[in-house]
């Protein structure tokens, strides 16, 4: 009788598979493959913390009497970009497989970054005020879609929260926007990122 105790068995046995054994091989391999996803929790945690820090720095500088000039956003963008690139290159080398979903998520976030840059620069050039509300609304899209693709509820809720708080921010005092933004980043990025990390760690060791 065939015992599917070790995958080494696969390597040595030739044919004589029963239909049940065939289905079991297929099922086992697909389960194995599902553990071969790219880890993305790192990016949510990194960007969540950096963007909260940037917003707080901007807020503190404004309170100290300096007009907002966006330097903290620039520093956060550069630091986050460099760390993300290094981490992404290392992860890419380590991963031996890539799924269609990995590719969709990669391009979704790449498109989001381009849209964000255009929006932020556009606001700066046109003098259209603070872009925080628009940033929150835009951030809701890739967060929500990533959550749906990965069937990960905290990210879906995070995406919805970005949209709700982003929409709300158009109607409130600029001082309140800072806290809406920090709340959106905390509940939309940092907490889902942490929960996602726990899930990724669990799946890797399962």
């Amino acid at each position: 009788m065939f015992i599917f105790a070790s995958f080494n068995t696969i390597a040595t046995m030739e044919t004589n598979l029963t239909p049940e054994q065939s289905l079991r091989v297929i099922d086992d391999m697909i389960r194995q493959a599902k553990r071969s996803f790219h880890r993305i929790s790192f990016y949510f945690l990194l960007w969540g913390v950096l963007l909260i820090a940037a917003m707080l720095a901007e807020y503190i500088m404004t309170r100290m009497g300096n007009p907002p000039h966006g330097a903290s956003w620039g520093v956060a963008g550069i630091v986050g970009g460099v760390i993300s690139s290094i981490h992404g290159a290392r992860e890419g080398k380590r991963e031996g497989a890539s799924t269609a979903m990995d590719r969709v998520i990669l391009w979704l976030w790449a498109a989001f970054v381009i849209t964000m840059l255009i929006t932020i620069v556009g606001y700066g050039v046109s003098g259209g005020g603070t872009p925080s509300g628009s940033i929150m609304v835009l951030t809701g899209l890739p967060t929500f879609v990533s959550g749906q693709l990965m069937r990960f509820k905290p990210l879906i809720v995070g995406g919805l929260l970005f949209w709700v708080l982003g929409a709300f921010s158009y109607f409130v005092d600029p001082g309140v926007i800072t806290w809406l933004y920090i709340g959106a980043m905390l509940f939309g990025y940092v907490i889902p990122g942490y929960l996602l990390k726990r899930q990724e760690d669990g799946l890797r060791t399962a």
Partner: protein
């Protein structure tokens, strides 16, 4: 009742395992397949060649950190053969 004959290329544990992995991921390299199947390097290499010769997978030789790296991807013909094989074994089990 007559059953459809099973594809002899796929009716092999290691080749079936390779195809199942490549159905689940878009592409996988040699190390990934080695790790997931637990096969020996030699056997894995032989079975990859057989699948490639049957036109079921595309094999691309690249470099990863200055070392040769073989990347495999399922072909449309391979996907069709896999689906036919799964349907055939399901039919066996139903009857």
């Amino acid at each position: 009742m007559a059953f459809a004959p099973l594809d002899p290329i796929l009716h092999n544990q290691l080749r079936l395992a390779i195809m199942s992995l490549l159905v689940a991921v878009e592409e996988g390299d040699f190390t990934f397949l080695l790790e997931k199947t637990g096969a020996t390097r030699g056997n894995l290499s032989v079975q990859i060649t057989k699948l490639k010769e049957a036109g079921y997978i595309h094999v691309q030789k690249t470099f990863k950190e200055n070392y040769p790296n073989t990347v495999c991807r399922i072909s449309p013909k391979g996907l069709k053969a896999f689906e036919t094989y799964v349907k055939a074994i399901k039919d066996y089990l139903k009857n």
